[in-house]
Symmetry: C2
Subunit: 490 residues, 2 copies
């Protein structure tokens, strides 16, 4: 039991069972010959930054850190590891929340030097980049050709495209553009035995056999090492309109989303919701944040629209939409952003919730999704069940309603200190995830499984699904060298 | 060597190598007990319609045809087949072009009675349907809730959703909505050993382990039987604008698509191209079809835009776009459809090409895709190479430019009869597919591999990719009962 970052954390339950014999001098020399000095780290102090884990949830250790600079080097490393039964943990920007890049002996394979943008093809609206490219650099490369790479998330300045692929990253524009899987045209992968699969297609239509890229996307490095990817680019939106709305009930927000979808379709850039309590936390704890409204309301929503045409009367359409909502009593109030500054202020309110909640003391968090139609009942029943577990706990359930993705977070009761509340961590997890399961939802909407949720995944997924995953892992990585004990245990 | 439907066809090269011992009376009775009279066919005459193959390319035979009515029945059938080493060929509407539903002894599993629409969830914009549902019925079920299921293709009145999934069907709206894979939220699958995997998720965000549905989509029934699917629905477009344009060069069409994408983004509903020769064939052979233009031009394009908002000045925007194209000399001429009738007439021109080409005598067809940026050079070099092979042959390369999907078809020279020309079938296949390969394209853009393209797939894909596919097939279907000798040979 440990407290970190305001959170209670149960001790890690599993360790790697493989032998922890140190690597022989001969093997070390072989690795050194592949990557040379700049890519070879065995000094404990120099290894330390690579062994940090963002939430201090897991201990990480490695025999050595290797930083290959080419796909060929990755392939040679894997071949040796496979022949010598050495575990390999691929690591990108190391920004994940579920311990997917934590190692326990063996080779920590850091991809940050494999970071070339190989090719941009504006006419095909695609680019090909290496796994170690930082997400923001990929966005910039697209922007230089007046195109958009739409993946966008909080860690974009440090996370790498290989990690985004390995975890099928989501972020704030999934509603319009899909998640990382939907943005991928092709992959280059080093298989566990050291063979290189060149699947860097640039095609929107290709039905030649099984679509293998989908096996590797979201597999968190357990089936091979993604070394490069071909990605889709999009035309850049030319205008944006934003509105902040206030409602009585979550059901109203669902109805409003339904109407917005019918009216605006794929022009919807974001549809976010937050309860009164979230607004209270943000305005209390975050400097310069204030509600756009003079009074408080039970629920708030943020609607963002974009259009690729300049002539489209987007602002006028959103204004009429809001008028109709008001006339039909779906909303108490609404403000249409008059400029980008105000639009950004609306978005900042929504994006400050996590930071604000941290300042309110102990909280227990869940990254879940349910079918949109189930959101109101799921919210109501789960909130009630949380109250039954710890009376006075304060639910802060907010997020990407358009994707059905709710961050169902629970703050301590006002009269309870953080630590006694956080002791309910596992009970709240089970309660919330049981509810998610009841409503056919997902216990990991966008963060993945890693080490953190292996047991829970096995608890909720059908046994036959777990069995298929195990079967796939065994057939693609028979020696179990690739990121062992992540996602699924053999 | 045989002629069918105007096409020369090489004799089938492979047959199933498994024993052709007739099924025992006891096994037949076991199958009968599962599906009862209405689902059990052994009479040769009654089996005949199920053994037809759309292009008469392959002979098909079966010990019996089974038509299960529930997922449970499918599971029981597979379990028995697996235990007794009986091959199973799943069959939907039997409209495929590559022989994927052809059987060679064993059980032909026709899914047409498994055709319930299980559930429509308008607020979640999704529905759950069984594999035997006809595509048009799925479209109608969505329409009844004022939503759109966007998959649309020529066979929509008879093809089934299970076949659409098994082949990852494309069709005319891929550019805007993606192919079948992109429209799928979850699957229910019977595994070869008779276990049922309930993966009928309704979620847009779910990162719990490997995404197994993508293994089955596009696997043409070789890994299991898809029995039901949860599919995405979309808001219905409220207006549409169409224009028919005339250009000098294919390069101009590529530039115009690039500009249209930047201007209109996801409002582009279709972007189709056709050469002068295609227009000549359509107006010559198809009654009531005539060119919108008084004179002929080297290339034509069809642009369709849609919007979900009624207020958007779509027609005006398309008109200004065309004016700019004309001013900048990208087009010789353009006509903006003034009503739906004219818009449909434009689309009919494009959709009549296949029928018209058939009436011109022997032709050799290819369903290929290349990166958009490669289209002009690919077209030019391949056309020249075709001329070198058979002087005077007439290339009719048209299709979905927006997807990079070109139907590269070649008609006999005017002075050559069909039969002597069609003897070049395999040489043209190799020539065109070698060119596709050179430009990093796909030899099967939307029709799949089936029996037809197994050898060619093995010729062009990387060996490591073929090896992974074989590995997957072996691990998921160790007894090789599922649609054996399709996609990949073991």
């Amino acid at each position: 039991v440990a407290l970190f970052d305001g959170f209670y954390v149960p001790a890690p339950k599993d360790r790697l069972t493989r032998s922890t014999m140190p690597l022989s001098a001969a093997l070390l020399e072989t690795f050194h010959a592949i990557v040379s000095d700049n890519g070879f780290i065995t000094d404990k102090g120099e290894m330390a930054p690579f062994l940090e884990e963002s939430r201090n949830r897991f201990e990480s250790s490695a025999d050595l850190v290797l930083k290959p600079k080419t796909t060929q080097e990755v392939a040679e490393i894997l071949s040796i590891c496979n022949d010598n039964d050495i575990p390999v943990v691929p690591q990108g920007g190391n920004t994940g929340h579920c311990g997917g890049a934590v190692s326990d002996g063996g080779v920590l394979l850091n991809l940050s030097r494999l970071n070339k943008i190989r090719h941009v093809d504006p006419a095909n609206a695609s680019l090909t980049v290496e796994a170690g490219c930082i997400l923001q650099d990929v966005q910039k490369a697209a922007d230089e050709h007046n195109l958009l790479f739409p993946l966008s998330l909080a860690a974009e300045g440090s996370c790498q495209i290989g990690g985004n692929l390995a975890t099928n990253a989501g972020g704030i524009h999934v509603l319009k553009y899909g998640n990382m899987r939907d943005l991928t045209l092709g992959l280059e992968v080093c298989l566990p035995d050291g063979r290189i699969w060149d699947g860097l297609r640039l095609l929107r239509k290709d039905n030649t056999g099984y679509d293998l890229k989908h096996l590797f996307i979201g597999s968190e490095g357990t089936l091979g090492v993604i070394t490069a990817a071909s990605l889709k680019l999009f035309p850049k939106p030319k205008q944006k309109s934003s509105a902040f709305i206030a409602c009585e009930r979550i059901n109203d927000l669902l109805d409003i989303f339904d109407k917005a979808r019918a009216c605006f379709g794929e022009m919807i850039y974001a549809f976010e919701i937050m309860p009164s309590f979230a607004m209270e936390l943000v305005t209390k704890h975050i400097p310069d944040q204030k509600s756009p409204f003079a009074q408080t309301y039970p629920w708030y929503g943020l609607i963002e629209l974009v259009s690729t045409t300049e002539q489209h009367p987007l602002q006028e359409e959103l204004e009429s939409f809001l008028s109709l909502l008001y006339d039909d009593s779906f909303i108490h109030n609404a403000i249409l952003a008059q400029d980008m500054k105000q639009a950004n202020a609306f978005l900042n309110l929504r994006e400050s919730i996590s930071a604000a909640q941290k300042k309110e003391g102990g909280s227990i968090k869940h990254d879940v999704s349910v079918p949109l139609s189930a959101i109101p009942t799921f919210m109501e029943e789960t909130t009630q069940a949380c109250q039954n577990l710890v009376a006075g706990c304060r639910v802060c359930a907010f997020g990407h309603m358009g994707d059905g993705n709710i961050h169902f977070n629970i703050s301590r009761p006002e009269q309870m200190e953080s630590y006694p509340f956080l002791k309910y961590w596992e009970e709240f997890n089970e309660l919330v995830h049981d509810m998610v399961h009841k409503f056919n939802g997902s216990i990991s909407a966008e963060h993945g499984i890693g080490k953190l949720k292996m047991d829970e995944m096995e608890r909720y997924l059908p046994a036959v699904e777990i069995d298929m995953m195990r079967n796939l892992k065994r057939s693609l990585d028979p020696n179990n060298i690739m990121n062992p004990n992540k996602i699924i245990r053999l």
